[in-house]
Amino acid sequence: MEADAAKLIGAGLAAIGMIGAGIGVGNVWSSYISAIARNPASKDEIGANIWIGFAVTEAIALFALIVALIALFA
C-alpha cells in the first residue's frame, strides 16, 4: 500500500474516536435535561457544572482529531 493511502485511511480511522465523544456529549445533555425536568430549582446549580462535563467529554473528540491531523501532516 502506498504511504499516502495508508495516511488517509489512518486519519479516517482516527476520526472514529468521535463516536465515543458524540455519545458522551449526548449523554451529558440528556442527563442535564432530565435532571432539570425533575427538579427545575436545581437549574442554576447544575448549569455551571454541566459545562465542565461537556468540555471534558468534548476534548476526547478533539484528541481524536489531533491524532488524525498528526497522521495526515506530521
Binding site: I52, A55, V56, E58, A59, L62, F63, I66, F73, A74
Partner: protein, 267 residues
C-alpha cells in the same frame, strides 16, 4: 527532524497550493494559513529567537483590551453601575463565584492570578474571532506553557501546604491496601496528564473552530452562486464559535480552580 519535517511540509503545502491554483484559477484557500506566525520585529539574543511576532502582538492587544475594559468600567465607579461598570462587575463576579464555589475561602488569595488568566484567555479567544486577527490560543506552545505553569504551581502549593501528606492525593484515605497497586498508577497518570489535557483542549478547540470557519468560507467562495448555502451555515457556526471562545476560557479557569482545590484540600 523538526526542521527538515517543516521544510518538507512547507514544500508539500506549496505543491498543494500550486495544484489548487491550477484547478480553481486564482482562488487559493488555505484554511491553515491563519495560524502562521511571522515576525514583526526581529530580535535575536545569543542564538535565541525572541522576535516580536504577530502572536506576541495579539497577546499585548488582549492584555490591553482586558485592562481597558476593567479600567473604563471602574474609573468612575458608582453605586448604580453604568454599562461598562456592569460588564466589569459581571466578569469579576463570574470569577469570584467560581473561586469561592470551587476552591473555598482559602482560594481568595489566588483570585488575582485566576482572574488574570480568565481575562487573558477570554479576550485572546474572542479577539481571535475578528476576521484577519490572530488567535494566540491556537498554538500549543502558548496553551501548554500556561498549563505547565499552573500544573507546577499547583503541585508546589500542595507540597508546601501538606508536605509528604500531599501523596495522599494518589491514594485516597480508606481505600483497601491491596487496591494501591491499581489506584496509584491510575491516579498518577491522571495527575500527570492534567497539563496535557488542559492545554490540548483549549488549543484543539481554537484550531478546529477557526479551520472549520475557513473551510466553510472557502466553500462559499468556490461554489459561486450556490455558495449562499455554506454562507448561511457559516452564520450559526460563527455564533457557536463565539460560545466556544467564551466557554473554553471559562473551562480552562474552572479546571485551574479544581486543581487548586485538590492541592489545598486533597480529595
Amino acid at each position: 527532524m523538526a526542521s527538515t519535517g517543516h521544510a518538507e511540509q512547507a514544500h508539500n503545502a506549496a505543491a498543494h497550493a500550486a495544484d489548487a491554483a491550477a484547478n480553481h484559477g486564482d482562488k487559493v484557500i488555505d484554511p491553515l494559513h491563519q495560524f502562521e506566525i511571522w515576525s514583526i520585529l526581529d530580535i535575536q539574543v545569543a542564538g535565541l529567537n525572541l522576535s516580536f511576532t504577530n502572536s506576541s502582538l495579539w497577546m499585548v492587544i488582549a492584555a490591553a483590551v482586558a485592562f481597558g475594559v476593567m479600567w473604563v468600567g471602574l474609573r468612575n465607579a458608582s453605586l448604580v453601575p453604568g454599562r461598562m461598570q456592569n460588564v466589569a462587575e459581571m466578569l469579576y463576579g463570574i470569577v469570584a463565584n467560581m473561586v469561592r464555589d470551587n476552591v473555598g475561602d482559602e482560594g481568595k488569595k489566588y483570585f488575582p492570578i485566576v482572574f488574570t488568566l480568565f481575562m487573558f484567555l477570554l479576550f485572546g479567544n474572542v479577539l481571535g474571532m475578528i476576521p484577519g486577527s490572530f488567535t494566540f490560543t491556537s498554538h500549543l506552545a502558548v496553551t501548554f506553557f500556561m498549563a505547565a505553569v499552573i500544573f507546577i504551581a499547583v503541585t508546589v502549593i500542595g507540597i508546601v501546604r501538606h508536605g509528604t501528606h500531599f501523596l495522599r492525593l494518589f491514594f485516597p484515605e480508606g481505600a483497601p491496601m491491596w487496591t494501591a497497586a491499581i489506584l496509584v498508577p491510575i491516579e498518577l497518570v491522571s495527575y500527570l496528564s492534567r497539563p496535557v489535557s488542559l492545554s490540548v483542549r483549549l488549543f484543539a478547540n481554537m484550531v478546529v473552530g477557526h479551520t472549520l470557519l475557513k473551510v466553510l468560507g472557502g466553500f462559499a467562495v468556490l461554489m459561486g452562486a450556490a455558495g449562499v448555502l455554506p454562507l448561511a451555515l457559516l452564520v450559526p457556526i460563527t455564533a457557536l464559535e463565539f460560545l466556544v471562545a467564551a466557554l473554553q476560557a471559562y473551562v480552562f479557569t474552572i479546571l485551574t480552580c479544581i486543581y487548586l482545590h485538590d492541592a489545598i484540600h486533597l480529595h
